[in-house]
């Protein structure tokens, strides 16, 4: 299996990098066509994605629903920037954290028939600073992103 690299380049960012033995056109399709996304973006074992809607245009929205034996959750967001087969910039909000918005950037590059996906999750710290986030769970997640960098450098 190809190795996955997960780092925390800044206090509010998680970066995940992974390469795939496929041309960029196919990797792009697998990220943007609902019938394909449903098959792999399912998270932990035992979870499925019964609903997946993607309106792939700037300002268009997407909606993912995950189900598992004990529960169900969803994520929604809006496409901010789309450069076909090269770059996606979208927002992401989970139903259990309705006031928390993460900015997700995905960059697709191809070299020698392989495609690398760089995914950056930027946590919206301004919203946090403005006190939008109130629930303990929001606070936990907010703080987790803020402190990941420190954790890596100070404790590992």
């Amino acid at each position: 299996m190809n190795p996955l690299r997960m780092t925390t380049p800044t206090d509010t960012t998680i970066e995940i990098i992974r390469s795939f033995a496929a041309p960029r056109s196919l990797v792009w399709r697998a990220h943007t066509e609902p019938e394909l996304v449903k098959r792999w973006l399912t998270g932990p074992t035992g979870h499925t994605m019964p609903e997946c809607e993607i309106d792939l245009r700037v300002g268009g929205t997407y909606r993912y629903v995950w189900e598992w034996p004990e529960g169900r959750m969803s994520a929604t967001g809006t496409f901010r920037e789309i450069v076909p087969e090269r770059r996606l910039l979208l927002t992401e909000t989970f139903d259990f954290l309705p006031h928390s918005e993460t900015l997700v950037e995905q960059v697709f590059t191809e070299s020698g028939g392989r495609t690398t996906v760089e995914m950056n999750l930027h946590y919206d710290s301004k919203a946090t600073r403005d006190g939008v986030l109130q629930s303990p769970m929001d606070e936990g997640l907010e703080a987790s992103y803020c402190s990941l960098d420190a954790l890596i450098s100070e404790t590992m």
Binding site: R18, L26, L36, P136, G140, L151
Partner: protein, 110 residues
């Protein structure tokens, strides 16, 4: 009992992270912890209380002082959380590998 949200709240503050960095080097008294900071003892004590409530540090009584030290359990909880996140994406991308293999076969066939 270590609770993840209180751990993350405790870690969200740069002063508290600096205190932890100091305690990783070894046990220290409040005065020793306070030394590098331009901060009153009550302020430092408030930070220490947050860290203690999160289960990240503990205090023991030694005469009149209460030296603080790191609680390794809390760090294990955080590492678990990060590891779960990584595991989810490893699983996602392993499935994506299979989807891509199938797409390539279809492409080659046409």
């Amino acid at each position: 009992m270590v609770k993840l949200d209180s751990v993350f709240h405790a870690l969200a503050d740069p002063t508290r992270r600096a205190i932890l960095a100091r305690l990783i080097e070894g046990e220290a008294t409040v005065d020793e912890i306070r030394e590098p900071f331009a901060m009153s003892q009550p302020s430092i004590s408030r930070h220490l209380k947050v860290l203690e409530q999160a289960g990240l540090i503990s205090a023991r009584i030694e005469g009149t002082s209460r030296p603080r030290r790191i609680e390794p359990v809390a760090f294990a909880v955080i590492e678990d959380w990060l590891e779960q996140y990584r595991a989810i994406w490893q699983a996602n991308y392993a499935r994506l590998d299979e989807v891509l293999t199938e797409l390539k076969l279809k492409d080659d066939a046409t």
